[in-house]
Assembly symmetry: C3
Homo-oligomer: 340 residues x 3
Amino acid sequence: VFQTTLAHIATQLDAELIGDPACMISAIATLQTATPCAISFLANPQYQAQLTASQAGGVIVGPRHRELAMARGATLVVSDPYLGFAKLTQWWVTQTRAVCEPGIHPSAVIDPRATVASTAHIGPLVVVQAQAVIGDGVEIGAHSFIGQRATIGAYTRLAPRVTFHADCHIGTHGLLHSGVVIGSDGFGFAPTQGRYEKIEQLGGVRIGHHVEIGANTCVDRGALEDTIIDEGVKLDNLIQIAHNVHIGAHAAMAGCVGVAGSTIIGAGCTVGGAAMILGHLNLAPGVHVSAASVVSRSISQPGQYSGFFPIADNASWEKNAAIVRNLTTLRDRVRRLEKI
Amino acid sequence: VFQTTLAHIATQLDAELIGDPACMISAIATLQTATPCAISFLANPQYQAQLTASQAGGVIVGPRHRELAMARGATLVVSDPYLGFAKLTQWWVTQTRAVCEPGIHPSAVIDPRATVASTAHIGPLVVVQAQAVIGDGVEIGAHSFIGQRATIGAYTRLAPRVTFHADCHIGTHGLLHSGVVIGSDGFGFAPTQGRYEKIEQLGGVRIGHHVEIGANTCVDRGALEDTIIDEGVKLDNLIQIAHNVHIGAHAAMAGCVGVAGSTIIGAGCTVGGAAMILGHLNLAPGVHVSAASVVSRSISQPGQYSGFFPIADNASWEKNAAIVRNLTTLRDRVRRLEKI
Amino acid sequence: VFQTTLAHIATQLDAELIGDPACMISAIATLQTATPCAISFLANPQYQAQLTASQAGGVIVGPRHRELAMARGATLVVSDPYLGFAKLTQWWVTQTRAVCEPGIHPSAVIDPRATVASTAHIGPLVVVQAQAVIGDGVEIGAHSFIGQRATIGAYTRLAPRVTFHADCHIGTHGLLHSGVVIGSDGFGFAPTQGRYEKIEQLGGVRIGHHVEIGANTCVDRGALEDTIIDEGVKLDNLIQIAHNVHIGAHAAMAGCVGVAGSTIIGAGCTVGGAAMILGHLNLAPGVHVSAASVVSRSISQPGQYSGFFPIADNASWEKNAAIVRNLTTLRDRVRRLEKI
């Protein structure tokens, strides 16, 4: 088991340490579950009561909770404790996870016309096709597929079983989770005589630096031009990004979201889980869509937008839904009363 | 083609048989489609009329339909006919499906530090990493991936193409369908200066015995502690289970459901298709959520809960939705009328 | 880079060409982005203004825009310009994409009892099990899996990483995208004593000719009879089709749709993104369901149907949702006023 000291952690986080620098730490934990061998953190002030009661060997806090934390025990003060916690987890992983050695697993099937950096790691049973370019320090997990002319930027990691199609591109320091499909065909057909004629999707997908995409999420290739995901975007699991969508920098979307074709999502937008954004819309930067809401029109003003039917016990819902189904009648009854 | 007799089936189901024990049966079918070579069942009393008209060689019924069934033809009486049907399908499969022979396919890539039971079946092109433990009678389908230190309990089956990440665990007699991802990173970031800093997900996933998980469903690993799925849980396809969710024993969820982070779902809950459960909530045991409903608050009382906008012809919906969008106005008009 | 002439394109599309037949074309583009080396098209009359301003080397139009287009420059006239565009993309792909050579990649694992046409292409690390039949001109992408007795009709293409289970069948000229799972178990259990007993799914999946299924979409096998997808159906990404659903010919569904068990969807229906269709329903041919709508009852009349809560700024939504939650109260207040 990995062990370190509070002093070492304080150095990593550039934190002020008040308490025993030699105290041994072997875990990161929440305030409630931390033992004296664990380090914890207080980011959300509503957990302040848990701070006082915590058994943690040390607690990372911001300047405003410095006194309260010191009264409890060992304290690490940083300007942003949630960011400090994030950086601690990142450093922790460098100390505890197995390193991927550079090299190509002998079971991988690499086209001789592909370019693979000597510092890249290619896992077992990976397929890399002709003219693909795999950058420095890239990790490609088992069972992943890289299509023709695709490029994977330096230090980007693909978990096992990622499918990254031909003519798609991702920048550096990205992370694609298992089951991701980048560059499947957009859904485009010309209706004719009661059936559909396929419109071949000739664009690709362009993904910026520092993008993370969750498990089983799909990003379709563009019809003529590329589907674009800008720098720093974070997508959760099971999201559908249709063809020719453009997601602005540092936008984030929770699981099960759908974005229909050609919609433009501004920088810094957030979309809650299972929200649905229709096609050919434009969301201004700084629009925040609540979970399970349906965006059916463009939104030009930043702010929080919501829209889902409130849940209730089934009998109440049935009654309310019946009235909703006939709201014009209720409105007309009010009109009639007003005319009396 | 597999054939058996009514007598043999009656023995398997511990059923009382009224009719010719030597009658040959080569299929299981619904009452409507059954031929004299097929066995059928009556579980839902609303199909009673179909019983009388059925051509089935034999029908499984409960005690209350014994006389009605006997008047038609050969009858197998069991205490719970739907359960009897379920057990019949299970026995049928043992007689008709190819057995997976124990052993490791030569194309599989097994780390020498992994432990694979000699009675386990490892399919073609499977990857098993170091320190993983594969139990007795386990079946791992083609293209599946088992990460470091993961454990697969005895008699659990993984369909082709399941990704089961490092430090995740499943009990015995489980069934994971194709495309399942267990242990992808939870969606955790610390926002800082207009971008997101990744919080590495240090927990794992712990799954109990007798759990079934549907195709392309994702279960994220926990941030610090494990995501937990208790014994007997059944999840359908394309479900998203976020980090640190806890699903209680024998809960069941239909397809396309999303459960956001840290939510606790009580034992025996059911969730209808495409329902969405927000994060950090607590659903008491025995809560039943209807399809397409959004759970935005904790629910402490068992019962059925619903909430979706009723569908209508498009013109009616547009009118009703416009009124919903201005319901405060309608309410204020009623208030004014009341004050007259 | 591929280059052709306007004359050559006109011949391919059976179009009347007005303009320089020798004009070189190396791209297809939208009216707005087209350069003189690109060919474009006007299908939607609302983009008429873009036509006049376009720099395209040639524009495909219908008869009604012939004069307008000619006033701008080189013009190709066809009866249906969107269909013409579709066919142009199809021809373009035949000229620009690498041809899949017939043959079986040496890394594929093919059961000797499978039948693979000599004109089929089997990619790297594909698994084909016993008694499977792969037709003429079929392409099976890397990492795909074909189960026992499954049949793949002539000229059908499977992208990399498709899982096509035992006893499932697809006709000719189909296209299955990455991550598709055909024939996973339907979600069927008999509840007994607080737990669930599995109902083995003994049916398969039958898919007609010219069917396209999007990335990570799942089609479950039937309980006793087959799940059926008729000719010409188009399914987008991340769709869930439950057991024993029947989708009629030339129906189309956008991403994230769910269809619950045993529902019958008529020919030519369309379903918008993230709509949810409950189980055991019947949708008549020509029913069109809007995005994000929940179909909770059978629909016997063709037409457009909708139902989702309108989005608003969060504060407005909260107020309106609170009133919706108590609509019976508002209705009762109106009643009382009427009785005065």
